[in-house]
Symmetry: C2
Subunit: 159 residues, 2 copies
DNA sequence: TATTGTTATACTCTATAACTATA
DNA sequence: TATAGTTATAGAGTATAACAATA
């Protein structure tokens, strides 16, 4: 028999337990993601780049001439949303929309010299910040994590 | 000397390379996160729960009596945004806001029987789905990944 | 004076329909 | 007819200021 409380007053919680959620890998992925995103945003701010503009710039530098639709697919962004991203990069003269002679509907996205230079600097900064974030982990551990995450990525595309 | 192209026509990209981005652990965390979130959303849909309402419900079931401000801190959600989440759970009679005698400003969040039951079912479903997502990974690998992600979480709170 | 919950609001992100010009 | 890029718009998710009630 449990002793009844005087008024059924609600219990006071001193420490909030998230043990149940902690069982899930997804919970930790989300929390790590928040940290990484926050760090990345801070890292890119001096370059006046957001995560999406950074990703777009890197992909254009690595794949000069690609079409907006290709970039949208690669970034998993809807085409309408990509337009403003490209607008921003073009306005800053980091890339340019070049007419494609063989298909007058399409634009070939080309990085400018300034775009390639900013891209290189941003990548170096991101590398340095990520290294700090992963400082506690040995290279083989990192490889193992990437392998595991890639496995999860694959599972997603399977369905 | 490179042979100049006739009109400097932009190159055609057949396959978009994301090799540069793939170097970064954050890129893989983000992609895995997308898969996990998508799967989680699909898993919770039959229960009419979103990720935030699910997290809130689990935390209330595990910590009966906690205050909204405590829950907001635990979930890393702004207090104003938590209000609508709590409203939704209360409207569905999964939780209730109980008056706290010792502090008449605050509410103690309590799960109802229906809330605890739905929570249990949802947790079981999420467990099953996550198991499918991690099917290719051995338990020690999963432990290693969680350890690594926890390390990254800690780095974030350090700054 | 500070805190709890709340309202209103704004800003970003993301998603969809429909248009134009080409193919 | 289908596709590339675009426009407009709507819906999430998230963030801030300010208020009433209470500490």
């Amino acid at each position: 028999m449990t002793k009844p409380r005087q008024q059924d007053a609600p219990p006071v919680v001193e420490h909030v337990s998230d043990d149940t959620l902690r069982q899930f890998v997804g919970y930790h992925v989300k929390r790590a993601m928040n940290v990484i995103q926050g760090d990345l945003a801070k890292t890119l701010r001096p370059f006046d780049l957001r995560m999406v503009t950074y990703s777009a710039l890197v992909l254009i530098v690595d794949n000069p001439g690609l079409r907006q639709s290709q970039l949208a697919t690669a970034m998993d962004v809807e085409r309408p949303n990509l337009v403003v991203i490209i607008d921003e990069l073009e306005r800053r003269d980091l890339i340019l929309r070049e007419k494609v002679p063989t298909d007058r509907r399409a634009y070939a996205l080309m990085p400018t010299l300034a775009g390639r230079q900013l891209c290189d600097k941003a990548i170096a900064a991101v590398k340095a910040h990520e290294a700090r974030l992963l400082a506690g982990l040995a290279p083989p551990e990192i490889k193992e994590v990437v392998r595991a995450l890639s496995q999860i990525e694959l599972r997603g595309s399977e369905e």
